[in-house]
């Protein structure tokens, strides 16, 4: 692997734009599948296939799609829980939080050791399952303060103080009542608040949130959504918000990227995407969401067949087999390039 040193860019003039926080180009991840335990892998699942996008400072970008579309894999690549096979991820991390005049440019795929630790101080992840992501034998203080001790921030007193501060910020008050409790004493919603406190205690600039509300009840789900928005505003955090729920994405995200079998098929500002979906898959997804109005009669989504896996996909459009408007051109051409149909509205479809 090529070793790249982190470089520091300085922008002395105030107000000069240092560029987006995250810039992803051609990102690809394939998982080998072998037929038999000792056999060499014979085929590959193309989980993420030449995906490119940018994510602005303070922005929340939604990755939406059905299970197996690669949205979680993108999240894991971005925090480097997985290594990419191809492509580049460039982070422009502010030297000081909230001040983008001096940024260091980092590709997490090429760093290790101290650089990796610095990277992790600024990039964190919140997982889907608040029951599986915490050690049941440790107290909330242990769980939330762990990033501080890994990063060697503060002494014990300072760590207790910051943990207590985080507990109050996420609504677990009085904090002194919660510091020495264990996860099993908490409800699902409260646990997810602990997971948020743990991710944010070191004040990261970027957080990947992987379905943080999908295991929760209606009422605690809304609480977590509002809390994450509030903390993003207060701390200037950017989110990559991975979800299968378009309604949740509508409330959490400035822009939404729709994924289908490893490809981003459409990306636009949230309300634009919901009002004016261009890709036939986005349209099908949107029209499959139940409407909470008993008087409304919803037509079935216009989509054929069932979801498949992206196992050695043919070169043509990934959506061809299920597309209601596919033509011979779609069959015989490679997967369509992403086009900007109107300012900021990207779509990958020959017929859109």
């Amino acid at each position: 692997m090529e070793l790249r040193l982190t470089e520091t860019q300085t922008h002395p003039e105030v107000g000069e734009d240092p560029g987006p926080l995250v810039e992803v180009s051609g990102l690809t991840k394939r998982f080998p599948v072998s037929k038999g335990f000792f056999r060499k892998p014979t085929s590959f699942i193309h989980a993420v296939d030449a995906v490119s996008f940018t994510l602005g400072r303070g922005e929340s970008l939604g990755m939406v799609g059905e299970s197996g579309c690669g949205k979680t894999t993108i999240g894991k690549l971005l925090v480097r829980l997985l290594d990419p096979d191809e492509g580049q991820m460039l982070y422009r991390i502010a030297e000081e939080a909230g001040d983008a005049s001096a940024v260091s440019v980092v590709d997490p795929a090429t760093i290790s050791g101290k650089e990796m630790r610095d990277f992790r101080r600024n990039v964190q992840m919140i997982f889907q399952d608040p029951y599986e992501s915490m050690n049941p034998r440790r107290t909330l203080f242990d769980i939330i303060s762990e990033p501080l001790s890994v990063q060697k921030i503060g002494n014990l007193m300072e760590r207790i103080e910051r943990t207590a501060e985080m507990l109050s910020l996420v609504g677990l008050t009085p904090a002194s009542d919660f510091l020495l409790r264990h996860p099993h004493e908490l409800s699902g919603g409260q646990r997810q608040r602990v997971a948020i406190a743990r991710a944010l205690v070191i004040r990261p600039q970027f957080v990947v949130a992987d379905e943080p509300t999908s295991m929760l009840d209606v009422s605690s789900r809304t609480g977590i959504m509002l809390l994450m928005q509030q903390l993003a505003r207060d701390f200037g955090i950017s989110y990559l918000y991975v979800t299968h729920d378009l309604a949740v994405a509508r409330y959490m995200c400035d822009r939404i990227a729709v994924m289908y079998l490893g490809k981003i098929v459409e990306l636009a500002e949230t309300e634009e995407l919901l009002r004016n979906p261009l890709h036939p898959y986005t349209r099908a997804l949107l029209s499959a969401v139940p409407v909470p109005d008993p008087g409304h009669r919803r037509a079935p989504p216009d989509i054929r067949g069932d979801l498949t896996r992206s196992l050695d996909p043919p070169a043509r459009c990934r959506f061809y087999d299920r597309c209601p408007i596919a033509t011979d051109n779609c069959l015989n051409s490679p997967h369509p390039e992403t086009e900007e149909k109107s300012p900021g509205h990207l779509v990958a479809c020959y017929e859109a």
């Binding site: 605690s220 909470p292 109005d293 079935p300």
Partner: protein
């Protein structure tokens, strides 16, 4: 031919004995369901909706005790039956669709075989070929290829497994089906198909269906009636269009306005503050009063009577009128 409701639950109360004391999981729950009707039972986790379902199925755990009430299915009180007699009703007259995520299917048997066994165990006198033909029909009915009968559960996707679980529930032609979060773990496009299939099966067979869910949008689309449960009690019951169109109970209205929607204008979400109460020591008076903005002294001391509007009621001292409900 039986007239009147196919299922009548009357004043049902049940408790669980745990170390900390007695959990009053279900209290004074009453509702009726006619043939072909569907009811949505909604509420937060722990509100007692699954306890009601398990009680209807006669599948309560050992530490549960029914303290009062009747469950009358086609004229027979299920609570008076012993285990032997219950077996004639369970699955044959009342069946349950579990969440596929809960691994209802045995991984070491072929899916079709499991359903054949279910049919034979419930007293249908069919030859193997006839039983297989019946399963093939059921598979077609729920949108599965009949050839898939001879596959194992791990070869099925989540959506296919949920369809197989529905086929199993239908296998003995029950009059009532309880669907416990039937699509919660599924993607929207598959959810849409499965809900449409359930709806058309319900119409074709004139079945009564109870949907247990926390998804208000699913309830709005597939049910005729809604029962809202809170802290073990029904707090609002009525036709779906009325309850969701103009809720009487502040809890129903709160649930609805905390629900995000992709359609229509984007309205701000509000949070129901607090957590559901502990049912070992439930709050006095109306159990919702600690979380209710319009709670008064009366709410803290006395359980509210039913407030009526048209065909629907809510247990509330200060029901919402049409103008201040936040529906829509």
């Amino acid at each position: 031919m039986i007239t009147g409701p196919v299922l009548k639950v009357d004043d049902l109360s049940l408790t669980y004995q745990i170390r900390q004391g007695e959990v009053r999981a279900v209290q004074d729950v009453s509702f009726e369901l006619a043939r072909g009707q569907s009811l949505g039972l909604v509420g937060e986790s722990g509100c007692g909706k699954s306890s009601v379902a398990n009680c209807l199925m006669g599948l309560l755990p050992d530490n549960a005790r029914v303290t009062r009430g009747q469950v009358i299915l086609e004229g027979h009180d299920l609570l008076q039956l012993n285990e032997e007699e219950l077996r004639k009703y369970r699955w044959r007259r009342i069946a349950m669709v579990f969440q596929a995520a809960m691994n209802v299917l045995d991984p070491v048997y072929r899916v079709g075989q499991q359903i054949v066994e279910a049919i034979e165990a419930h007293g249908f006198d069919l030859s193997d070929a006839e039983a297989r033909e019946r399963v093939a029909d059921l598979f077609r009915r729920v949108g599965l290829e009949p050839q898939l009968m001879d596959r194992y559960p791990h070869e099925f996707s989540g959506g296919m497994r949920q369809r197989a679980v529905i086929a199993m529930a239908l296998s003995c032609d029950p009059s009532v089906i309880i669907a416990d979060e039937p699509t919660t773990a599924l993607d929207v496009i598959i959810q849409d198909r499965i809900l449409r299939e359930l709806k058309s099966i319900q119409n074709d067979r004139d079945m009564a269906v109870i949907y247990i869910t926390h998804d208000i949008a699913v309830v709005a689309e597939v049910t005729d009636l809604v029962a809202v449960m809170y802290a073990g009690r029904l707090v609002e019951l009525g036709p779906t269009a009325e309850v969701l169109g103009s809720p009487l109970h502040p809890y129903t209205s709160g649930l609805m306005s905390s629900f995000p929607s992709v359609s229509g204008e984007k309205r701000p979400l509000t949070v129901l503050s607090g957590e559901p109460p502990n049912l070992v020591n439930p709050p006095s008076g109306c159990p919702f009063h600690p979380r209710c903005e319009s709670a008064t002294e009366q709410c803290r001391s006395e359980f509210p009577p039913r407030a009526l509007r048209n065909d629907h009621w809510a247990a509330c001292w200060h029901p919402l009128d049409k103008t201040n409900s936040t529906a829509g």
